[in-house]
């Protein structure tokens, strides 16, 4: 036992190391490269220099947001994959991201966010929740779960959401259009410090909350019926975890736009290295997801500088290829 705990602690330590390294690297590179040594002195010198404001006003908030959003999305992925015992299930493929995007889009067009910026995560969560309810009643309520049906319904809901978004864009005014497009492309550049704080808080809350269910998720690996035989209230667990993943996804999408496949790629990779015990998998995926999104964002803003790519482009390409790869491997 202690051997297992030791191994897990080592893994978490290594992952934290990677996360820190990626963050420092991301602090250094950009349109104006700041060498590591200089960062150190800039911090010591304090406010005033251009470098200081680049580090603290531009790059650091981005890194923190990348960590929170990447962590939240992989967390949602781990939870959903755990519930359905399937590697293809994640917020994006279940249409939860799409629903959240639709909610946020409506918010922007109707100008609700002018009254309070907090309405953005709320509308994201509402959209995500609606899709989850639809998925739940269309597929899960009908008794025995068919994973193909679930995925197809999710993908279709995703399509419907993006069609509705296009519809909204087509009929909206030019000023709003810019806002929507800018947001949909997905970016970790977030001017509101409040939203960044909320995202961080929510994803850390999600992390702790999901740990209360790590044993139940382990039991779910045996199937729902066997999980009930082990004393797990499967219906209640499913409902709570569904809401939790909608909350995480809704918040992540409302701040950073649709960033696909993080929840697909990260849990799978982490599982390959450390197995499928959720007691370590949850935290490990959270850390890896954070590091992955920070790395993707760094690539996105440097690869064809000075033009900045939406970070969803990078995660989408990597994730989409992996999705097809798993789909074929499983046959």
């Amino acid at each position: 036992m202690s051997k297992k705990l030791l191994r897990w602690s080592m893994l978490i330590l290594i992952l934290t190391g990677i996360l820190v390294a990626v963050s420092i690297f991301s602090l250094c590179v950009g349109s104006s490269g700041i060498p590591l040594k200089k960062i150190f002195f800039t911090i010591l010198e304090g406010r005033g220099s251009t470098e200081y404001s680049i580090i603290f006003d531009i790059r650091l908030p981005r890194i923190i947001l990348g960590f929170a959003v990447g962590g939240a999305l992989s967390l949602a992925g781990v939870i959903l994959q755990g519930l359905f015992r399937n590697p293809l299930v994640e917020p994006y493929t279940l249409g939860i991201s799409g629903g959240a995007a639709l909610g946020v889009c409506l918010n922007i067009v109707l100008g609700i966010y002018h009254t309070s910026i907090l309405s953005l995560p709320v509308s994201g969560f509402t959209g995500a929740m609606l899709v989850v309810l639809l998925v739940y009643f269309l597929t899960l309520k009908k008794g025995i779960l068919k994973i193909q049906g679930l995925l197809l319904t999710g993908v279709m809901l995703s399509f419907i959401s993006s069609s509705l978004i296009m519809f909204i864009m087509a009929i909206s005014k030019v000023e709003d259009l810019h806002g929507i497009i800018f947001w949909i492309m997905g970016s970790l550049e977030e001017p509101s410090m409040l939203l960044i704080k909320i995202t961080v808080l929510l994803s850390v809350f999600g992390l702790f909350a999901s740990y209360l269910f790590c044993r139940d998720l382990n039991a779910f690996a045996l199937g729902e019926e066997d999980a009930s035989h082990l004393g797990v209230d499967t219906e209640k667990t499913k409902k709570i975890l569904f809401i939790l993943s909608s909350l995480l996804t809704g918040c992540a999408v409302s701040v950073a736009g649709v960033i696909g496949f993080v929840g697909l790629v990260i849990p799978h990779f982490v599982r390959m290295f450390i197995g499928s015990d959720h007691r370590v998998l949850i935290l490990a995926s959270f850390l890896t997801g954070g590091a992955f999104l920070i790395a993707c964002d760094t690539i996105a803003r440097t690869v064809i500088a000075p033009i900045e790519l939406p970070v969803g482009v990078i995660t989408g390409i990597i994730g989409g290829i992996m999705f097809i790869y798993f789909l074929n491997k499983r046959k």
Binding site: G143, D226, H229, D233
Partner: protein, 277 residues
Amino acid sequence: MLEVKNLVCGYNNKFILKNINFELKNKEILGIIGPNGSGKTTLLRAISKIIKQQAGQIIFEGKDIKKTGLNELAKKMAVVMQFSVASESYFNMTAEEIVQLGRTPFHSRLQFSETKQDEKIVEHAMLLTETFNLRNRPILELSGGERQLVFIARAIVQQPKLLVLDEPTAHLDIAHQIRILDLTKKLNTDFGLTVMVVLHDLNLASEYCDRIMLLNNGNIRKIGIPSEVLTYQIIEDVYKTVVVVEKNPISKKPYIILVSEADRTGNPVIDLRYTEG
């Protein structure tokens, strides 16, 4: 131990079990037999609270199971279903990880790791089922028989009073069939476990069960010791097939011999040639 009174239940308003009454005695092995679709698995699901009962009462250890929490139930009753998802699961767990899950009902939400006692119980169960040397192997790499033993080990670590098995010998070779039922018998005699087991093989049921319950169309056709239930009249009536019932020369228990249609009539059964007119 377990008392079922006027049980009615099924799925989506379709009644599978119509009026079930029986009592499971302490420390007995009760075999459940019956044709496909007669309600065997449904009965197990009702007893383990997977499906709701529409009428009637199930009393387990002196308490109505409606008033027993799933967690409380899991500490006294362990169930091994026929098709465990784990054997096709994407999450490739090791045998030991599967067995450890049997301790789930004993852990609180805030308990992070297994105790020393948990480890001892897991090790003991794996030694007992002779799966200890497989403990680090992924479950998907194991044979059907080995998997079944691992799932039984998982049930043992729940330290139940009642062990419920759904066709534990399905798709296994004769050596594994015997191995699994010998193990079940051993759990019954050495550890005083009460066992309820669904079996398709009537002869295995005859050899290993103290009593047998024969289900047909959601009703109990007959319940009693093997020689009372396994008579050719009852079997032919329920299964609609011709059998001969002899005595097993060693155990003196009923032994059912199947007869093919060709032997019954002395003719090839179906004429595959198509003849006009």
